[in-house]
């Protein structure tokens, strides 16, 4: 009753506006709070370019790699991911190599990049300028499949990837570390000309097993088909097609906004790429 004793029409109108604004804000907050998980997406088209240089010193192969990727994110294509990798492989015996690499990458997206900054929208944080450091240990088994007609090779690559980066996002400025076990079995078929590989086709399953985050067992896996044309002894290039399946799990921001709630959503894409490999043997 007391509330309705407002006497002045002039002072009554701002109160209605303020009330309406508060209602809209609260409604928005409520709607956002209950629909903040990212949506499953895909299949989208993505693009990737890779160039590698191998310099072979007997059983030691030094490698440098540059990669860029145009990804589907926040409802559109975005060129965020770029990386440079350097390191070497040591051939221990014919069918076994060990490798160690360092990678500097920008633009990688992780679970915690699903954020809700001081706007009304949730989105994937733009990480294009965020440097990440990746230490990689590699063990690769290769076996010729001589019992199959033609020239076939089986390969099993296992990598431990330790990623660390500093995220300067406003409320949790801190370092993150991600440990991943990558397992990639595959087969390659080589078409030989004059005794040397001329064209090879490769089919691989590439699985990423998170060791200190979710979801398990794989947070991402790829089915990969690639072709390499060995134009000369030193240059090979060719297209790749990969079916990508990633699973995003609950971000820190989401946990803060909706305590006790979790999500797992999927991102599926078809990635079309071009790979160029240079091989030198001084």
């Amino acid at each position: 009753m007391h509330a309705f004793t407002v006497s002045s029409g002039a002072s009554y109108r701002p109160r209605i506006i303020a009330f309406a604004a508060a209602f809209v804000f609260a409604a928005s907050f409520s709607a956002s709070a209950s629909h903040v998980a990212p949506l499953s997406t895909g299949p989208a088209a993505e693009f990737e370019g890779i160039t590698r240089l191998f310099v072979s010193f007997g059983e030691l192969d030094v490698m440098a790699e540059a990669k860029g990727r145009i990804e589907s994110i926040n409802g559109g294509l975005s060129f965020r991911y770029r990386e440079l990798t350097a390191g070497s492989y040591l051939r221990v015996i014919d069918w076994l190599t060990l490798g160690a690499f360092y990678r500097l990458q920008f633009g990688a997206t992780h679970n915690n990049d699903w954020i809700w900054p001081s706007t009304l929208e949730w989105y994937w944080q733009d990480t294009a300028s965020r440097p990440e450091h990746v230490l990689i240990g590699d063990i690769t088994f290769r076996l010729p499949l001589d019992f199959i007609p033609g020239s076939w090779r089986f390969e099993l690559k296992a990598q431990y990837q330790h990623t660390f980066y500093y995220d300067s996002y406003s409320w949790y400025q801190r370092w993150f570390t991600l440990s991943v076990l990558r397992v990639r079995p595959g087969v390659s078929w080589f078409i030989l000309r004059e005794g040397s590989p001329f064209i090879d086709l490769t089919l691989q399953f590439d699985g990423y097993i998170p060791l200190n985050f979710d979801p398990k067992p794989f947070y991402a896996w790829y089915i990969y088909l690639g072709m390499l044309w060995h134009a000369t002894e030193h240059i090979a290039f060719g297209p790749t097609v990969a079916f990508i399946n990633k699973t995003w799990a609950t971000s820190l921001e989401y946990t803060r906004a909706s305590p006790g709630s979790t999500y797992e959503v999927y991102h599926r894409a078809v990635s079309i790429g071009l790979t160029v490999i240079f091989s030198l043997e001084p």
Binding site: M63, W95, R153, F190, E194, G195, L228
Partner: protein
């Protein structure tokens, strides 16, 4: 009597000029004599025309009079079809390195397979089987003339080049092959390891090569 001794000396001298001996072996192999008898190989064992040498797990070097040498890699076999003025070695299995001293006029040094003849004069080269019937030949010094009777093709392979002979018949154009840099050309045990470490496997390098 003096005439008889001279004749005998000449005979011995001629015989020595026409023989070959095993100069080095890392382990024993086998010699199948032309007469059919098989015996264990040994260093300084003389070899005669028609003998077949099998290295088994050994690496062997055969030295011919005049200084030419033939290194046989593991699991190789050759028959010394002719070892006089014209030397003809039939490669039955595996691979060989040949270091051929300069030959006098009319002399020849040939390595043969059923369809291919590699003829040389004053040169150093490798010739061997790869997978199944594939053959590889590469030249370290001088030049080698290769002819395939089955494909009716001929090539002259120069220093630093090699050819691939698909199925042992069809000869490709000569070109440098990176894997041949790994071949062990040494035939002198006093200068280092004579054994070949299987570089020919890396001719089929797919199972070894890194692509990512």
């Amino acid at each position: 009597m003096r005439y008889m001794i001279l004749t005998l000396l000449l005979t011995v001298s001629l015989s020595a000029a026409e023989t070959a001996v095993i100069n080095y072996q890392s382990a024993y192999g086998a010699i199948e004599r032309a007469g059919g008898r098989t015996e264990r190989s040994s260093v300084n064992a003389p070899l005669s025309e028609g003998d077949t040498v099998r290295t088994l797990a050994s690496t062997m070097v055969i030295e011919f009079s005049g200084g030419s040498r033939l290194k046989l890699t593991e699991n190789s076999a050759v028959t010394l079809s002719a070892i006089r003025n014209e030397r003809r070695i039939a490669l039955l299995a595996g691979s060989v390195f040949a270091k051929v001293a300069k030959l006098s006029g009319g002399a020849a040094f040939e390595i043969t397979t059923p369809n291919v003849v590699a003829a040389v004069r004053g040169t150093e080269f490798f010739f061997g089987f790869g997978r199944e019937k594939d053959l590889w030949l590469c030249v370290n010094e001088g030049a080698v003339h290769v002819a395939s009777s089955a494909a009716k093709r001929e090539q002259t392979v120069k220093q630093g080049e090699g050819v691939f002979i698909l199925g042992g018949t069809d000869i490709t154009a000569p070109k440098p092959y990176g894997w041949t840099k790994k071949l062990n050309w040494n035939m002198d045990a006093e200068k280092g390891d004579v054994r070949e470490k299987g570089a020919i496997k890396s001719a089929y390098d797919m199972q070894r090569k890194n692509y990512d």
